[in-house]
Each structure stands twice: as structure tokens, then as C-alpha cells.
């Protein structure tokens, strides 16, 4: 089987799984699945299930759980990324897809001094996130918060470490920062929109305990910076990741 299927927790009762109509259709038409076949279902909350299909019609798919695991495909660290709402929606979408693949736990669109757009296409982004979760075979669906200010996010976040991407004299290379945070169980990474954070925004984040980090000698686009920082944080915990059964593919 090439992909996981998604059924929210409400679709699971005891050993019985009722696939949402769209997922059932996918089993039939794309995979040409039949009763008796086994598929992998995740509930988006860390639940991972091997399911035998017992009943399959054009509109419905019902199955029985034959194996159950927890947090398959999940990183050892809980990372929230706050990224400025980007003017180009396709760039925010690219970020979202790849952040899910790279193991983000929560995405928070930021309204900052220099953002030129207020809103995100929430429904569209959630679809991208579900597709990426299934495709990359993780078991948690990352959260997508409503757009908010960096100050509100920093105040509400309960993460152990906060990193803000903003290279200036005081910034430490992220590779150094993530080695220091190696044993932090959770991290918040903040990245500005296209024009970066305003200096006052950075001061306020640093004042609240954030560490300014730089991502190397090149000036990365906002969405690239978010992905690079996320990857560095998750990677520093890589050795601790369970499973490691990934296979690269499209």
C-alpha cells in the first residue's frame, strides 16, 4: 500500500473503523482495494492502525483493527512554527506541505508589522496538511492556528525553547542553538514574513526569552527559513526518533 488513510477518532469504535466516504472511494478507485485487503489508517492524534477491510461499497468502507500502534512517524520533539502570512499564497502552501513532512506539530500564521496580507485559506491548507500527513506516513495531523501576532503566540506557547530567525550581531548559528536545545522536548520557531520581523518585534521576542538564530550565509526566503529551522530542530533530535522506517518517495 502506498499511502495511509485518515479516519478521525470519531470514526473508530472499539475494533471497528468506518472510513469517511472520500477515503473509502480512494481505497476502491485508486488502490482497487477489496474486502479482505489490509490498509493503514491513522487518526491524526497519534493513533496508527492496521485495518482489514470487511465491507466496501462505493460510498462506505468498514474495517477491523488487527494491529494498533502509537505515534508512528512522529518526531521526538514537539515543534511549533510561527511564520508570517506570506503575500504569495502558494509559498505559504509549499511551507505547510513540507513542514508536515518534516515533522512540525503546530503551524501558526503570524500577523506582523510587515505582513501585507491578513488571512490564510484555512480550508485549503487543512486539505494540504491531511494529504501530507497521509503521504509521509505520520500519525498526527499538525495543528493550524488562526493568524495572530508574534507577541500573542510567544505568550501563549508552553514550549521550552523559543528560537527567532533573525540574523544580526547577536544571532547564533542555528546548528549551535539546536545542539544546546538537544534535550528540550518542545520548541517554538518564529520566522517573519517576506520582509522579516521589525527590530521591535525581535526585541520583544528576545525579551520574552527567545534566542535569535541565523541560518547561514545566505538570505533565505521566509518559507525556506521556516523549513530549514524546523529541519534543524527535528534533526538534532533525529537520533531519538522512533522507527526510522521512512522510504523516500513522491
Amino acid at each position: 500500500m502506498t499511502t495511509n488513510f485518515y479516519a478521525p477518532p470519531s470514526a473508530l469504535r472499539g475494533q471497528r473503523v468506518v472510513l469517511p466516504a472520500e477515503e473509502a472511494r480512494h481505497v476502491r478507485t485508486v488502490l482497487r482495494g477489496e474486502e479482505g485487503d489490509e490498509i493503514t489508517v491513522v487518526d491524526g492524534r497519534g493513533g496508527w492502525y492496521r485495518v482489514e477491510i470487511t465491507h466496501l461499497t462505493p460510498e462506505q468502507g468498514v474495517g477491523t483493527i488487527v494491529e494498533q500502534r502509537k505515534d508512528v512517524g512522529e518526531p521526538a520533539v514537539d515543534v511549533t512554527v510561527g511564520l508570517g502570512v506570506l503575500t504569495k499564497r502558494s509559498r505559504f502552501e509549499t511551507f505547510v506541505e513540507k513542514a508536515v513532512e518534516l515533522g512540525v506539530r503546530r503551524i501558526v500564521p503570524l500577523r506582523t508589522e510587515r505582513t501585507e496580507r491578513d488571512s490564510i485559506r484555512e480550508e485549503r491548507l487543512r486539505k494540504v496538511m491531511v494529504a501530507a500527513m497521509k503521504q509521509c506516513r505520520r500519525s498526527r495531523l499538525p495543528g493550524l492556528a488562526p493568524p495572530q501576532s508574534p507577541a500573542a503566540l510567544v505568550e501563549a506557547a508552553e514550549t521550552e525553547r523559543t528560537l527567532v530567525c533573525h540574523a544580526d550581531g547577536e544571532a547564533v548559528p542555528i546548528w549551535q542553538a539546536v545542539t544546546e536545545t538537544r534535550w528540550a522536548a518542545s520548541a517554538l520557531v518564529l520566522v517573519g514574513p517576506e520582509g522579516g520581523f521589525a527590530p521591535a518585534e525581535v526585541s520583544s521576542i528576545v525579551g520574552a526569552g527567545g534566542t535569535p538564530v541565523s541560518l547561514g550565509a545566505r538570505r533565505l526566503r521566509a518559507e525556506t527559513a521556516g523549513l530549514a529551522a524546523l529541519h534543524a530542530v527535528v534533526g538534532a533530535h533525529g537520533a531519538a526518533e522512533p522507527g526510522g522506517q521512512n522510504r523516500q518517495s513522491g
Copy 2:
């Protein structure tokens, strides 16, 4: 100034720079530049120049070099990434843009057993590469090779280390592999197309000295895998990068 300008080596004679027409137009119309202003020009071969504009018409820009440096924005490691030609062209384009930002030195589209497309849009990709080079403020324009087989690339490459993204029993986590290769001056990273490499292709790369690496517990899309592996290799050398004067921005 928010971006660098590009003038190939042939446009530089002594202290004199003649900007290509398109770049001169950009100075005038986008930046509202005037004679006497200073801009940063890179030649795509590692040359970095601070240039005072001495003559600016709608079709032409001429300037004098006032400062000259070498390899500004370049990583300490020479990384070639071979990535299977992707069925979705926009995904290959996303890879190319972000690989330039993350410091790739050479991109090689691969024709493999499972690629479903033979060709790339070379002209389009070169434009993306030039724009990314200018935007991220590096001074070298990475190379773009013609599509070829992994075997041909591995045979021709003169890199010290070869990593092939293909998690199986023998794969080592990339974070471990890049620590081992920390002092290698050059690396070749190979990533298959959407469906991954065929087992025989991996065997042949490993037979030629390649190390199979895994990228964590999630199955990454091909272009994400290429970027993640590149970032890990460049990042392991991050401490050695000159400059580090990046500023995140769009």
C-alpha cells in the same frame, strides 16, 4: 539595497561593469536607482562587487567597482544533488529554487528506472536559479547538468563522499552520516524520483562507494528529501561558513 545584481564575467573589464539590459532596467524601474548609487553585483563565479553606478539609461547601466570580494554567501562544502526528474514540473522548480538558497553547487536531473518524464525545462530552471542566487545573496550560480543516469553521475563525480537517500535496513541516519563527513570538502547526494530508486540502482550506487542514508521516520516527497539532505550536509559544515551575514527575508 534589497537584492544583488547579476553580470556574467564577460561584462566585467578591469574596474568597469556593464550591466546586462535587464539588470539595468531593474536598477532604474524597481529600485529607482540613479547615477552615483551603489549596488552589489555578483558574477555567478564567486566574484562579488560593490559597484558605483556611473551611467544609467533605460537600456544600459555602467558602473565602477569600488570593492571586490570572493565567494560571499557560499557554503564551505561543495554539494552536488542528483534528483530524479519529477513528473510534476512545479515540484522540480520548487526544489531548484530552494536548493540554490540552501547552497547547492550543482543540480543534476536524473533519469532513473522509475522516472516518468525525460526532460526538464532548462531555460525556465536557469531563470529560477539566477533569481534565487540574486535574492539569497550568494555569489555563485550553481550548475545545471543535462538529465543523465545515476550511474553516469556517480562515475563522473569527483566528490569525496556520496550519499544516496534510500532508507532500508542498512541506511544510516543522515545526521550521523554528515557528522562523519564533516571534513569532506565535497559531497554528492542522490535522490530518486517520486517512486524512489529501484533496488538495483541503489546497489550499484552503494557498490561504487555510496552510503545509503535515511532522513527520519517520515517518508519525504522526493524534492523535500533532496532539500533536507542538502541542508543537513551544508549545515554540518555551517560553523565553517564564512560571513554568516544572512538576514531572513522574502
